[in-house]
């Protein structure tokens, strides 16, 4: 009898979870992600000096820094997934919730990874990338720039190039792909050989990026907790399809 009683209680509890708790969590998630998504597009007032300058750069560049664009797109996809299941939707199974959480978590992990791991590029890739093409007037031929996000930092790297003589005695070894290239790295572009003579790197902490990353982490934990809550019932019912 006790067992049956327990079973019925847990079933009620599970129904409550599906009907109320899930939507509460989804609402919370949506709020957090909307906040995060907003950061990608609206300038935060009250920035001074260098920060303000950097922010200006981000504003003008943000569609061009692929990492920000990708992160924004991933967040938007996650939001889209969540908005498809608003309060009017009644979840019938735990598996359904799990599936939704998996999809959301995948997008969030992607978005976060995009910001935490800058793409490693070869110098020719960098030279032909969209970053170099967006300047008007175009950059001088002996300068290359790279913008990327690393965690909550915006990094700007300027490479001073030095064209190598065609009949140089120095043996030419093209460098591989890397986030940051060192002086002395060589590459070939349009049949001309170049060597990096100087590298300047500027970093700047962008507070709103930091916040965004925290939002991502919180959202991911919320998702996982919801999944764990559901799995408690699944183990209680000993693998019955629920």
């Amino acid at each position: 009898y006790i067992h049956r009683c327990q079973a019925s209680h847990s079933e009620e509890e599970f129904n409550w979870l599906l009907k109320e708790e899930v939507h509460a969590v989804l609402k919370q998630l949506q709020d957090i992600l909307k906040e995060a998504s907003r950061r990608f597009s609206i300038p935060t007032p009250g920035l001074e000096n260098l920060e303000g300058f950097i922010h200006l750069i981000i504003l003008t560049l943000s569609p061009s820094v692929p990492q920000i664009q990708d992160a924004r797109n991933h967040v938007n996809q996650a939001l889209q997934l969540l908005s498809g299941r608003d309060e009017s939707y009644h979840f019938k199974t735990g598996a359904e919730v799990n599936k939704l959480m998996d999809a959301v978590m995948l997008q969030l992990t992607r978005a976060r990874n995009r910001l935490t791991t800058p793409a490693a590029m070869t110098l020719p890739e960098l030279a032909t990338s969209g970053l170099m093409k967006m300047f008007t007037p175009p950059m001088p031929g002996d300068v290359m720039v790279n913008f990327y996000i690393n965690l909550s930092k915006l990094c700007l790297t300027v490479y001073q190039l030095h064209a190598m003589q065609p009949n140089t005695t120095k043996n030419f070894r093209p460098s591989g792909s890397s986030v940051l290239h060192n002086p002395g790295a060589m590459f070939e572009l349009n049949n001309a050989k170049f060597e990096v003579s100087q590298v300047h790197k500027v970093e700047c902490v962008v507070p709103w990026l930091n916040n965004t990353l925290i939002f991502f982490t919180i959202s991911l934990q919320l998702c996982q907790q919801l999944k764990d809550k559901i799995s408690v019932f699944s183990s209680f019912w000993n693998y019955r399809p629920f």
Partner: protein, 825 residues
Amino acid sequence: MSGNSLVLPIVLWGRTAPTHCISSLLVMDDLTTIITGCHDGQICIWDMTSDLEISPRAMLFGHTASITCLSKASPCSDKQYIVSASESGEMCLWDVNDGRCIEFTKLACAHTGIQFYQFTVGTQRECRLLCNGHYPEILVVDATSLEVLYSLVSKISPDWISSMSIIHSHRTQGSLLHALLCNTVLCYTILPYIMLCYTMLYNTTIYYLLICPPVTRFFYGRREPFHKLLVQGDSAGRLSLWSIPDTSPLQPLSTALQVSSTISLQEAFDKLAPLSAGIIDQLSVTPGSEEPIKVTASVYIPSQGRLVCGREDGSIILVPATQTAIVQLLQGEHMLRRGEGGGSGECGSGESVGQGRDRVAEGGVMSQALSLAPLWALQNRVQHCVCSVASDHSVGLLSLRERKCIMLASRHLFPIQVIKWRPCDDYLVVGCSDGSVYVWQMDTANSLSYTDLSPSVLQDTILRLCVSQGNLQKYSNNSLVVQAMKTNLTDPDMHVLFFDVESVIIQLLTEEAQRPNPTLVSPETLQKAQGAADKGGSFLANKIFKQVKETMKETIKEHLLDEDEEEEEEMRRREEKSKSLSLLEYNLTMDTAKLFMSCLHAWGLNGPLDEVCLSRLGMLKPHCPISFGLISRGGHMSLMLPTFKESLLRQMALATGRKLSLSEIGGKGTYGVSRAVTTQHLLSVISLANTLMGMTNATFVGEHMKKAPVRPPRPGTPETPKKSAAPPQVSSPAVQGQIKQGNYKRIFSLGAVLGEPLMYRAGSKRCEEAAQALLLAELRRIGQSGRKDTIDLWAPYLPQYVDQVSSRKSTPCVCVSFLRLSTVF
């Protein structure tokens, strides 16, 4: 499992169909095949008849993440290639006919749409794949090499492209680009049509619970039969077809459309008779219930040939792997026990280890068993441990000896993906799915450090460091490896047996060499020895001869005992056998070879030969066609679903004009499914038969199948020869050996004959490799003198042959012809 050696997978799917939550689907142009991709990364190939009946045929493994899109990748129908892309940026080119992976590549970003496009440059036909996805470009990829040729980028505010459509224009090919970049779906004339169907569809059919929205697509046949099909795949692994009648698109259909055909993977599995076998079903089906207890985690210990299975009720079972596989796959004296309640002490019964700890195996992955015979100086306590992961993301070290949990690490917020340890330092490193890494001290369960938000790169690095340290074991015997697989974390385990043909052969030869009486290797040597003795040769020869004589006597004795047909004896033997099995005193290599040969032999093609195989060689017939697999490039794998027989039966019924039963098709079944698989099988059979031919005890009946070599003579009868029942050929081991050799030779040549035409057709690198392995085995067999003889014999013919085989393709055929001839001689 390296790609070089010939490795054959055999699958035990179990009764539960793998989870197949369909994320994308594709109908091939000729409307005979449907391809579905699922959220867990597998691809399923379904056969479709002209009457729109569908049955799943094979499952392709290799993608690590959800399949995002599928597209055809070849223009003509004789070469059916498809390309698949996954969420993690992988792209893979498959051959639909045999499930072979032809090419694969990985990009940083995921594709969400691929379109096949073919054009002609001069007389050359060029095939391209146009891809869009999580990047602001359209990538143009070569359809055969999967290389990115160039990309199309918009200069004005590039962003991700959600979909594209190719408009075929008669004027120029230039209009293509324009159409590509407009970011909208262009779907003319069909569009209103689909809308109509959608509305009807949702009213009528959805009656079971789905966990995510189904995928629906519209296809129309360009050839006979001109079906217009609406295909839907959903999260339950169900495919539904609606055949749309020919009406004008503008005219609404008067009645709701009926489902033409629908089937799910699980339904297909349930329809099977006998049901698809799981690896320890004989132990897991409890008398009261229908369903076996699900195996949720398993690990194979190759040094002992044992399989450790963790079950959903929390118990862990140890079974000898080959024995349990034989029970599940083959017919034999153990038949009665198949699917029966698991009394302990029965064939293949295990020792229950960890009853009662509920969280042990639940939904978790038992990632590794700590070595049972470690090379490193581990602390004694940790030495005999099994590491387990529970559904609350905790890690436990369970001592097999003390039968309790000696360490519990439970602070992880996210599911655990990987566990490594550095035994010398007593550390356990746990990697979670969110990228965090925890380091634990094994002895005290202290959490030493924790890094959050570490990029996946860092996690990889840390774990790689551990791998180099933690790789303890190296086994020489990897002829059989049992790998547990699950498509979804919530699924019960299915098991794949990987047979490494070369290893089996090497192992057989090694054991042969280690035998106490190496002189008894083959009848040839026996004859040689006799000849030498007759000549009154050296002392050594005499000694050998004596030895041979003694062993002969012994063998006769043993054999006579074997021939004994009294029930009592039979019973006793059985008892003995099962006892010895539970004590694990059996010959692992011979068992492996037996299982392997029995699975691979082409049953049903040659009646008398089958009889010989059963009675003399001790091979066993399979219950029903066995689900084989095919390993192709880069660890990609195709596994036949148990339901492949259905479509096979249908085909054969069409061919013969009558209904066939499963047992009738037996071997013919597997020899006809796919060219690549057949080639591999024939080569394996040939090379293995070849090896067994040269062995002393090259039969799977008799005493040597057990490790304990000497059996006490039965009191009473031993010396008297058993009456007429004993056929004449058993009188001398030499003759007996010759007969066996002859039998193998027959299997061998059957394989060779079957194989030859195939080789011509499938002249590929894979085939060549296999042929090479085969040739090597043959050379090994004939030995130095044999090699010389063959060369002498062939010397006059060789030059012409070499001229003919200058092209790479025909090498295997020559090898086989050569081998065949060499056996005939």
